[in-house]
Subunit: 445 residues, 2 copies
């Protein structure tokens, strides 16, 4: 590993002979799960992983659930099951609400009440949610995409809009029902818009009698000068072209000034749209701010080179919740590979300490690049050295995701099943499931 | 076909040369879908199928979704997609709320308002919901199992009960969290109780550290003298034994007198249970009573031998919504094969009329038997001639369901995928998805 650096620990080193070290992990996302797996069956460590949900989510494919291409169970699995073999790891479905840094205790909440858990080492990896920049009232009209519940809500809204358009007789209202706005031109927004365009053009095209879904408008709105700011400009141009070929209109330099039930305001312009989706901003989980440590404007905790809280080498902050820097001093992006590498790094630091190490290593991110899909047969891919798009990028994207899903689900057949479901896009998952389970609760909406 | 009978039509026969006959079908269940398929691409007929949901549901496997063995998309498919090839069939997601029998108009409701649709022939196949016998307040504490939303709600409650038991320190409350009551000893109740028992014994057994799910109590409560009253007594005894081997306690002659948030009252006895499921009674969809026709105590419309409303040969009532009689004068049960045969019968009656037939045939049900599974490798099967149980019955059950799913989904690979998901029971679908999609809405519960 290049340029390995160390820094002295600010508290006394833990002796290798100490009985049992109690490690609490908050969050079962990529960082937390990677750490728990790295600590599985390590002697001298007992691990408790907390998550307020019962499942780990393969978030890079969440937009596929929202667009009815995949089922929730195809990209999520119970954390408990994933860690079944790790006898020293306990999983508890509790929500973390605070940390007593001096007393080394984590506070959690369940329906039964509040709880406290002592720790020797704490790993915070609570992730991020989406942010509305001070306009929380927009959430009702423009759901974001971070959880399975949100993905199924988006699916419900999108599919219901087509159903309502099919029976609508007023042309203006029909047009609004067939207008889909995606706010935010990052990878999530691009993937959502591309999948929406493709669903309208191909999957739904033959299903309706009174409307032509291919005439649906999909508008991708980005406040900045171009979409995909983290990618090379050439790839962003290519993605724009690919989106347009799927019927997606790309509006750049268009800050959204209002969102309501019937549409979106972009300065003086007004788009009448029954469905608006939010992919514009993220904000780290609130627990970070509660620590009293320094945070950036996204609420991410500024950590040291060893990913710990300044002055608290026993508290790691990982993944989307952390503001950590790369070798050039730029903050690392909120990507699954960053989180996984950080989770493993923290776990290895704990293992090194058990073996008597007194100095910490510095975390370095091995950047293998980034990618985004546009529809079902095109993508853009930027590995640092190579930047390419089109079908080749898509095939590469598929390979990489199959590779990671194999690691995640551990069964080849599940991946074959998944690949099938993916290629058969649009066959089975186009279900509108009501939010209300009670009798009579299922009105068309 | 044996014993074919006819009766004269009470209104003027429709001439075969008439331009186009407008057939409205209400309900995309087994009866409505079978009728729509039988009328697909028939010249001279235009069909509109109404359903307040967008999907057809393979209800015999719905308990598998509730028990996290299958995903919703594996047993449901959009009606629109299933009828994609039928150019003369339109699908509208609207809720039927009334019928003007004299004016021959169907009234429906959507979020946009109320609508009216004229018909020449009307097929009512709205199905049935569950009934609480005058105790609608029990529904909140004991959901039934008729829709995908209910199945996912049951799954959420069952899995959450184990999660809460894992972190509960009070022994009495832990015991209540690990007690599952199923009210109703018909096939649905037996299948739910068996799957619950099996999930505790096998699927979850290695997943928890603080509780032993195998010690969970599953109690099946039946008011009558025995479970499975529609099956031969010998098979019911066998099913009882099989249930008990999965740890299910079977209480017969035990009418439930109260259900609340913390348990169930059975006369003077009290069961403390965090989870109660309702499989005790059904009631036909309310539209039947609104017709002003004669209904039985379950709200089913009493139809003539040709499945039409007395005095209205242009109105068929089918499936669970109809009270129709077999050759011995007994009412037919609410089973998928009955509904499918009735749907096809009604469609064929319409086709015969188009060809100039003036007399109606009498519906006869071809009874191929009934079955129920107990856990994942046992079942009971009663074909009338043969009554058998155990693994042979289960293999037969699997074959029959694969056969019907092939017809339903029309793709062999989907069935292989399904069979895999079924045999890998408990791997991927154990997700607790929150009811609230908003940020912060996902508390552990």
């Amino acid at each position: 590993m290049p340029g390995r650096a160390t820094r002295p620990l600010s508290s006394a080193p833990v002796a290798a002979t100490e009985a049992r070290k109690r490690v609490l992990i908050v969050g079962g996302g990529f960082a937390g799960l990677a750490a728990a797996r790295e600590l599985a069956d390590v002697r001298g460590v007992e691990v408790v992983l907390f998550d307020r949900r019962n499942h780990h989510l393969f978030q890079p494919l969440l937009y596929q659930v929202a667009m009815a291409g995949l089922s929730p169970a195809e990209i999520a699995a119970p954390i408990r099951g994933l860690l079944r073999g790790a006898k020293n790891v306990e999983v508890r479905q509790e929500e973390a609400i605070g940390v007593d840094l001096e007393g080394r205790r984590l506070r959690t909440r369940t329906r039964q009440g509040e709880h406290e858990h002592a720790y020797d080492t704490l790993l915070l990896a609570c992730g991020a949610g989406h942010a509305y920049f001070g306009h929380d009232e927009w959430e009702e009209h423009a759901p974001g995409l971070k959880t399975l519940a949100q993905a199924t809500e988006i699916r419900r809204r999108v599919l219901s809009a087509y159903e309502r358009a099919e029976i609508e007789t007023d042309p203006a209202r029909q047009r609004a029902l067939l207008t889909f706005v995606v706010v935010g031109g990052g990878p999530t927004g691009v993937e959502l818009a591309g999948a929406l365009g493709e669903m309208s053009r191909f999957t739904l095209a033959r299903d309706f009698r009174n409307i032509d879904p291919a005439l649906a408008r999909v508008i991708l709105i980005e406040a900045g000068p171009r979409i995909l700011p983290s990618f090379p400009e050439k790839l962003a141009r290519r993605a724009t072209r690919d989106l347009e070929s799927l019927g997606v209109q790309v509006w750049t330099a268009s800050p959204v000034t209002d969102v309501d039930a019937s549409g979106v305001q972009v300065g003086r312009e007004r788009i009448e749209a029954a469905t608006t989706l939010w992919a514009a901003g993220v904000e780290a989980a609130p627990l970070g701010r509660l620590l009293g440590a320094e945070t950036d404007r996204l609420g991410r905790v500024r950590v040291g080179p060893d990913l710990t809280l300044p002055g608290h080498p026993e508290v790691f902050v990982l993944g989307d919740q952390a503001h950590s820097l790369d070798a050039e001093g730029r903050p690392l992006p909120g990507l699954a590979p960053v989180a996984m590498q950080q989770g493993r790094f923290a776990a290895r630091a704990i293992r090194r300490e058990l073996r008597g190490a007194v100095e910490r290593e510095t975390f370095f991110y091995r950047d293998r690049g980034q990618m985004a899909t546009i529809g079902r047969s095109r993508a853009i891919c930027d590995t640092g050295r190579l930047a390419f798009g089109g079908f080749a990028a898509w095939a590469f994207w598929l390979l990489v995701h199959i590779y990671f899903l194999v690691g995640f689900k551990n069964r080849l057949f599940v991946v074959i099943q998944w690949a099938w479901a993916y290629l058969a896009y649009g066959r089975g998952a186009r279900l509108i499931v009501s939010r209300d389970w009670r009798r009579g609760g299922e009105l068309p909406d």
